[in-house]
Symmetry: C2
Subunit: 280 residues, 2 copies
């Protein structure tokens, strides 16, 4: 039977009991509104660990004013059922007041990585992500945490945070889950109307075009980006936020594609800000 | 027998073994150069906990350029003997490279408290303190941590950090240790020449004068501060950095002394920056 708790105190008790039994803890931090991507993370955690904990918390700290905090989808009852069918042991679904009580004032931040890619357009976003994930890691003390590749920059930053702050957690990345037509699964796809939903495939098509070019021997990053741009620009109403070819560890722009490279983009379609990436 | 280790890995192993034996951990974070103040923290930890861990690390992150990082006193062998005589179980004395390896990029920061009092004169100081203490808390997982009242602002900030980041540690403050003439013990007192050492008693004398005034019914903060200023200014070569009367929780300036109030000051004498405070 899955348990759902809302207080830090209850999580602590659950975690303490697990540790007393010497059980490894796998953890999937989420904002809820589960799709197949979330479920694949839970499934892997279930394989790896005696205890699987999932957090559901739409974290206000990682949304800027004017972003979609208020309309971000919330569906706790449905999420609980979905998590239960993946064998999750505990869902931690705290209130904002539980996570950020009156007087809350502490933040985790990082130089370098958070200023790249999405960080250029969402200046305090990763600070909010790190702060909440750091809090969750501290209370859940996972052995392993699971994140999806769609949010590759987030993965890098959280892994870096864990290493830097001596958090003894293995931060793992699993592949992006995709719809049949290639669209990366995202809780935000719900913002897309039917026409926009079709248009939204342009991100993956642009990435496929990039992969094709690289596979065919093109290693000039500018060339790859301009081809990707063409793919997106063919879609009316798709506004490019960025297209980037970067070193997959430092996120520094790559001129040539050699060694591990991230090809990444953010595109706005209607009210949705969509991101996707591949590693080549 | 006291153990001295330099690597995070060894601390982790020691801590894991202690936790397996269900032993409570008391922790005293220090920069070494022990005086009676440090020893009183260790003694209390020894009373409270099965395991006492002391860290010795002169943390570069909390010194600004031009401050005394390079000349801060270092005396590991002597410190180890002193800690041993207090019954400390483990000293963790890492190198800078162990704490901040190449690529280190993560910081813990806080709004509000770090900008007050000393923070106005040492802008990134408390960010450095929080980052290192956060790291140490994560690896040592203490039940209780002990800090001295001399660094009252540091105590408040670290306690706030622990609460905010869901670190399950009780952050306790113990009284300032003083020399016979009242000077607050500090590793930095070593910077004082014989004449300056005498002059340095002005901080405590100013605080005693404040206490006397408050005890006598004066509750006007401006009055108290101006009397303190007079005490300091009588000492040639004592340069006031700040004199403050503030709410002891928020560190906001108090106009009237009512409820718990912190009276605090920072004074430069020669090469030494000295701080002291009392709670009234």
């Amino acid at each position: 039977m899955i348990r759902v708790v809302e207080s830090l105190k209850e999580v602590r008790e659950f975690v303490a009991a697990s540790l007393r039994r010497n059980q490894k803890i796998g953890f999937v931090p989420t904002m809820g509104a589960f799709h197949a991507g979330h479920l694949s993370l839970m499934r892997q955690a279930r394989k790896d660990s005696a205890i699987v904990i999932v957090s559901i918390f739409v974290n206000p700290l990682q949304f800027a004013a004017g972003e979609d905090y208020d309309r971000y989808p919330r569906q706790l009852a449905k999420d609980v059922r979905m998590a239960e069918s993946e064998g999750v042991d505990l869902i931690f679904a705290p209130s904002v007041a539980e996570m950020y009580p009156k007087g809350y004032a502490t933040y985790i931040d990082q130089t370098d990585l958070p200023n790249k890619l999405c960080g250029q357009f969402r200046p305090d976003h990763f600070r909010g992500v790190m702060s909440v994930v750091g809090k969750l890691f501290n209370v859940i003390t996972p052995d392993t945490a699971y994140l999806g590749q769609k949010d590759y920059q987030q993965f890098l930053i959280i892994r870096r945070m864990a290493v830097d702050l001596n958090l003894d957690v293995d931060v793992r990345m699993l592949p992006t889950a995709r719809e049949e037509d290639g669209l990366a699964m995202s809780s935000r796809n719900i913002y897309l109307g039917p026409k926009q939903r079709k248009d939204a495939t342009c991100l993956y098509r642009a990435l496929q075009r990039a992969e094709e070019l690289v596979g065919g021997g093109t290693n000039n990053a500018a060339r790859v980006m301009s081809e990707m741009k063409r793919v997106i620009q063919r879609v009316k109403g798709a506004r490019i936020e960025y297209i980037a070819v970067v070193n997959s560890e430092t996120l520094e722009p790559a001129k040539e594609i050699k060694g591990k490279t991230l090809i990444s983009l953010a595109v706005r379609i209607g009210k949705a800000r969509l991101i996707d990436n591949i590693l080549v």
